[in-house]
């Protein structure tokens, strides 16, 4: 009763959850153009994930696994369905998630190993695989209810059925580490901890003690929706954010009747929801808005898509960030992999593989 009254009060006064505020891009998150200015390695058909074994870079593009050879991409494997996550195994081969529902090991010592469920828990939207130090696979499954391609539906439906699994290729076993997450999207070992992105809660959480301890935020109040996490060579991690939070979307997320009707009547690409790219059609929401300032009507539109990668240190603190701003094109950064001095990024928004020099970015941003 008290909670209900408190909620009504907040809605009336625009406070608490109803304040509809978004953290600002400042400090280490101050925007720049480094992703927009990054070198375009290749234009792809449907890039999804990028990974490395420390020597070469591999990209999941539709149903294909491509290896970067110089500036050329060559196919090294083809799957039966679209790849939704890719990881290099330490003893050669790959761990591949197909259509988000099945994980297979292709090549290497555990070739042929496959999982589609752990006990009664069937996979539904596997979106990231990471290989741990002991050779275990850390798998995030975004939603039990929506498929991988329907991530927007999960957000607009306030989904919270994300799960984290640990798979052991040696014996084919596995177990669930956490569930009920607000879209788990990417995991990474950091020291003795396991970091997991929880996209709809805009934070990275720590699963300590094998997932038994209570969840704690490693880095919270991100201005974007975090996705895959890749370890950085000198400690910490690269965290990609595939879209940006805006007050408009936050507002819509607090309006259930509007959302239900929007989802029922409008095509998903035209929803007031985060997007991987924008500027494709005038039917996109609010692209023709205007704002009156100081008596002058100015064209304006809330950002629809963005490109963001965050460099976290060992403690999960943001050291610096790389951006492609609203006026850019390299949006929807879904995966990152550092190989040598180069950071490779998958920009799903305009289907590109990008590369940028880590040392020069670091020099520019933190001196």
């Amino acid at each position: 009763m008290i909670a209900m009254l408190s909620r009504w009060k907040d809605q009336l006064l625009g406070r608490g959850d109803a304040a509809i505020t978004v953290p600002v891009f400042d400090g280490a998150l101050k925007s720049n153009r480094l992703i927009e200015d990054a070198r375009v390695v290749a234009a792809l058909e449907a890039p999804e994930d990028v990974t490395t074994d420390g020597r070469a870079v591999f990209v999941a593009d539709g149903a294909r696994v491509l290896r970067l050879n110089g500036d050329r991409l060559e196919e090294v494997h083809r799957c039966a369905g679209s790849i939704t996550a890719l990881a290099c195994m330490p003893d050669g081969g790959f761990a591949i998630a197909i259509e988000g529902k099945e994980i297979r090991v292709e090549g290497g010592a555990h070739h042929g190993r496959q999982w589609s469920a752990i006990g009664a828990q069937g996979f539904n939207a596997v979106n990231a695989i990471t290989v741990g130090r002991s050779g275990r696979l850390l798998v995030t499954d975004g939603s039990r209810e929506r498929s991988y391609g329907q991530w927007k539906h999960d957000l607009m439906g306030l989904g919270h059925s994300g799960r984290v699994f640990e798979l052991t290729p040696a014996d084919g076993g596995g177990r669930m580490l956490a569930e009920g997450l607000h879209y788990a999207f990417g995991a990474c070992e950091a020291g003795d901890e396991l970091w997991v992105s929880e996209s709809w809660r805009h934070h990275v959480i720590r699963l300590a003690g094998g997932g038994k301890a209570p969840l704690q935020a490693v880095t919270d109040a991100l201005p974007g929706y975090p996705s895959r996490i890749a370890p950085a060579s000198d400690g910490g991690a690269w965290l990609t954010c595939f879209a940006l939070r805006t007050q408009l979307v936050e507002f819509v997320l607090r309006e259930p009747a509007y959302r239900v009707r929007m989802m029922a009547e409008i095509a998903p690409e035209h929803w007031i929801a985060p997007a991987l790219n924008s500027g494709n059609t005038f039917l996109e929401p609010m692209q023709g808005a205007q704002l009156k300032m100081m008596g002058i009507v100015k064209p304006w539109a809330p950002p629809h898509s963005y490109g963001l990668v965050v460099r976290l240190d060992e403690r999960g603190l943001v050291r610096y960030s790389l951006h492609s701003r609203f006026d850019g094109k390299n949006h929807g950064i879904a995966a990152a992999a550092a190989c040598g001095d180069t950071l490779y990024l998958v920009a799903k928004g305009n289907r590109r593989l990008l590369a940028l020099d880590i040392a020069s970015a670091q020099r520019e941003l933190v001196g």
Binding site: G16, D26, K30
Partner: protein
Amino acid sequence: MTGPALEMRRATKRYAGVPAIDSIDFSLMPGEIHSIVGENGAGKSTLTKAMAGVVPLTSGEMRIDGKPVEPQTPNDALKMGVAMVFQETTLVPTMTVAQNLFLGQEKYFNRLRGIYIAAQQFLQSLQFDVDPTAQVSLLGAAKKQMVEIARAVLHKARVIIFDEPTASLTPEEKKYFFDLLYSLKARGVSVIFISHALEEALQVSDRITVLRDGKSIVTDLASNFDRARIVQAMVGRDLQQTVYGQRKKSIRAQGKRVLSVQNLRMAAMVKNNSLSVFAGQVTGVFGLVGSGRTETFKVVAGVIKRDFMHGGEVLLHGRPIRYFVPASAVRDGIAYVTEDRKVEGFFETKSIADNIYLGLLAKLRGRRPLFRRSEAAETGEHWIKRLNVRAIGKEVKAIELSGGNQQKVVIAKALVQDPELIIFDEPTRGVDVGAISEIHALINRLADEGKAVVVISSYLPEVMAISDRILVQRMGKVVEEFSAIEATEEKVMYAAIH
């Protein structure tokens, strides 16, 4: 050649036997602008207060037009033609600007409208953009200072003493003020100008007197001085030529986000403002007067309230906060060091030790129901030493301290609460170069210890010298952020104005 308009001969003032000024000889010629400079505690304020009748001399004499005088009260001094504009405003906050201007000059029958019209005309003649009908408590520090200056000019004083008159003025307001000084000089009015901004003293003065430790060190034509010579005479040691001269070569790494302000709104002053403050860094906030910097951080510290409806969010360590009184913020580890130390910073009739201990009691949230004298004395002594407060003893009343030492007391009162987030609002306003260095060193030390430090300053060189990151605020919101390495004065000022 006429004699001095005002003269002090072997002027000495002792407090409890300790000389605040010691055998000072000083002369002020008619129509002269004479600057007095010196570190905090050098005796500038005591000397000028003696001239203005605020404190009597222990020995020595004062002469006006060659005649010995002994003003016992400021009113006596005013009748003799000596007016003082104090460092901290002495206006009545509940009265309007016009009422303050004519305070003490009331007639038997006062027509408010007549007073407003006269005040309006007078303020316009000075080119001061102040509404005569506005209540003084609602004015910012700069406008209060302008009213103080206008009041002194209105009283037709022949000698006007300005104690740090430009500390709270914008560059444009300063220009008006200097024009005003020149017009006073042209009318034969003598001006004593006390300022810690040495460039200003060099710019406007005919002569400069440097005081140190209560003694007059040197008096000479301004044209014979440069900054280095003044600083050398002031501190008597080899201080760096400018405390603001060094640019940062490296910045501290960003720690955890301690404070996140999101879409904050507060009346017309703060408009949809968003910013973050991180542990282990000094976040400088620059903006012109009226840009909403102080108001933003006063909301954070619970001094004023944000809009009742849709006022935005303030998160401390990710937890939403909304304070109704500053004490709640203090308990959560937020300390706000005010820009207006006399009104909001300390209890002027209480001792240094009591003031600092009261800061501690605010933190302890009623867990100290009794005021423990011994603990207060210990606490006071500790902080007097730690911050190098120059006072005869811990029992000295705060009002009797120089501006810089008062500021140190206000800072000690905040630091005794062991805050995690410390907001310094104009921390070196009205503070001498020696104390500025000490306060800056203290601020840097706090950041090095991992505290989140905010420094709000209107003085660009200060912001540039001390900050790891600089937020520029304009028209109620942060419009730009620079790291200390990329910032230049031109860039920051451009963002603040355009």
